[in-house]
């Protein structure tokens, strides 16, 4: 019984008292309960794809947001993993439980390879080098069509699982686990990993970080590897979900899409990228089903992006959380916006200046 009180106290203090975490909890509950509410294949498909893309966007955030290594060609990891998984599955008939990790490992290897220029380049130079890798690779894809399927890609890949619901849960569970790991990995206050604070330091001031005895090279490569790994998992899931590995996974637009989602949601917050995908991707998909929306959906998409960035350039989630949460000026604990006094030290919370 005392354990129950202990856990309840923790739950109340760490989750219920902080609006952002309540929202996150509700989100995951909804994600896990969705198949109980509806089993409409279309709805499940949208949620599954959003989940996969959210994983992908979060992996971009680890690299670009937290470590400051601007990657404009993140589709490289996704595409490499997608093609690895697709080729292994279609040529060697390996099951998804084997091809997806293989794809992720391939993406890590490519990530380390792509990380080598990161040791010497920074800022937009790095961005452009990373931008060029997926384009070089897709050029090669078109040159060897008998092996890669050329423009049509590799089709007829095995499903994640024969049952739709099981596939859904595989994706959602993998997503939840990965996002949790990425969050802990990049969280500066994490007691599990020390990397979070190091990555922040590298982004803010690399020279100081190096002067403080941080092996910046190793940590930058680590960030590339981790980011590539999770992007690779997303790529593998995507291929086995859609059952086709198409060259569009290496597209320029595909790389930009991640950036659009993440910046829309809020960069340098794992939850921002997830929120960005779960807001923007369903809007695009739902617009595609309406008769008039099919042609104008990208126009609407672009307008939404422009308007949000104009009025909340830090991202939607940052803007919302700023409204919902107040940091205590004395003890730096996060409070809900409804409180007049800090929940820990009773200091008076000042109303926000707007």
């Amino acid at each position: 019984m005392s354990y129950f009180y202990l856990w309840y106290g923790w739950f109340k203090g760490e989750i219920l008292a902080i609006p952002g975490r309540v929202i996150a909890l509700c989100f995951f509950l909804c994600l896990f309960c969705a198949p109980f509410v509806t089993q409409d294949p279309y709805v499940l498909r949208i949620i599954t794809l959003s989940t996969i893309f959210a994983l992908f966007a979060a992996s971009w955030d680890v690299l670009a947001g937290f470590t400051g290594q601007l990657s404009l060609g993140h589709a490289l990891f996704f595409g490499v993993a997608a093609y690895t998984a697709g080729l292994l599955n279609s040529h060697l008939q390996m099951p998804p439980c084997f091809t997806i990790p293989c794809g992720a490992v391939a993406a890590v290897v490519v990530g380390l390879f792509a990380g080598i220029p990161a040791l010497r380049l920074r800022g937009f130079y790095l961005g452009l080098v990373t931008l060029s890798f997926p384009l070089i690779l897709s050029g090669l894809l078109f040159v060897f069509p008998q092996f890669t399927g050329g423009e049509l890609g590799i089709s007829g890949i095995q499903k994640l699982s024969p049952s739709r619901i099981v596939s859904y849960y595989i994706v959602v569970v993998v997503f939840t686990f990965s996002v949790f790991v990425m969050w802990k990995f990049t969280d500066a206050k994490s007691k599990l990993f020390r990397t979070g604070v190091i990555l922040h330091a590298i982004r803010e001031d690399e020279i100081t970080a190096r002067a403080s005895g941080i092996a910046t090279t190793r940590h930058k490569l680590l960030a590339f590897a981790i980011s590539g790994f999770f992007a690779g998992i997303a790529g593998g899931l995507y291929v086995h979900f859609l059952r086709i590995a198409a060259p569009s996974t290496l597209d320029l637009f595909f790389s930009f899409q991640v950036i659009l989602w993440t910046i829309f949601g809020g960069i340098t917050t794992i939850y921002g990228s997830v929120a960005g995908v779960f807001i923007l991707y369903p809007i695009l998909e739902i617009l595609a089903t309406t008769a008039w929306g099919e042609h104008v959906r990208f126009i609407i998409f672009a307008l939404i992006l422009i308007l949000t960035l104009l009025y909340m350039p830090e991202g939607v989630t940052v803007w919302i959380l700023d409204k919902l949460e107040t940091k205590c000026p004395r003890c730096k604990i996060v409070n809900a916006f409804t409180r007049k006094k800090c929940r820990a030290c009773r200091a008076i919370l000042l109303p926000k200046e707007t």
């Binding site: 320029l252 829309f264 126009i299 830090e314």
Partner: protein, 326 residues
Amino acid sequence: MLKISEVEGGNGFDNFTVNPGVQGATQKCSSERDVSMLVNILVNGLVAGGIYAVLAVGFSLIFGVAGIFNMAHTAFYMITAFLILYATNVLSIPLPLSLLGAITITTLLGIVSYRLLFDRIKQHQTAVMIISVAVAMLFQETLLLIFGGHYRGVPPFATGFVDILGSRISYQHLFAILTSGLILIGLWVLMTRTRLGNAIRAVAQDRAIANLMGINPNRIFMIVMAISVSLAGLAGAVIAPIYTVGPLMWVEPLTIILAAVVLGGLGSIGGCVVGALILGYTETIVTFLVPGGGFLRGAVSLSIMVLVLFVKPEGLFGVVFEEERL
């Protein structure tokens, strides 16, 4: 409406094809063919390189001065091409007038998008980049909605050929080379020989000090944006009759000019031109000499950029700064 080629397709690879304006001299002896091939490569490379140079210089200018990473740069070039297409094919406006009108409208569009969008969030560099991607997408989709996804051609301004060493070079190609050369020289004169050029370079070097010297940086930013967009417009006007015009035509030159800018070294205008010429020639040589080169064109150019950056991380002509600290 005049449609030279109507290809439905969206992979973005075919839309920037070089229509060799040259039907190489027919099968004679092989040495003569080699010479005509060489001339073809030289001329087409110069066309591609010149256009890329004009685009890259405009891109580099606005990035160097105002720090705006304008992904929509080539989208403005596309807009001009489409406006010319519309003016000449549908409205049948005389050509010089339609050129002038198209470039003016594009420049105005650039200024408007600067004032409404980029100017407001200049301090968030990544947000500016994303907004420019959104603007490019907006243009692309609007054009797709109005014109459909076909690839079209604009009638050439100058018809006729000139015979150089056994291969026929169309006047249009010569016109493109000449115009891009003139534009670049004009820009060089503007940047180095005028008060405005001095002011622009001062703002690029140190915004705060330039402000103290009585230069209004915000006005300079807007002027630079106008120059940059009108350069893109000029490039679009020159190129419209040579390449095919389609709503995805901005994607491939964008990657090439980004590569050219980085290859030459960010912030160095001369470097941009050299980078663009290198990439233009690479592209042409690959297209002419390698089987399946159409697909590999972009890949080879980008590989060259990556290789150069491995050896010289600041680009060919980039200035090496002390590692920057905030």
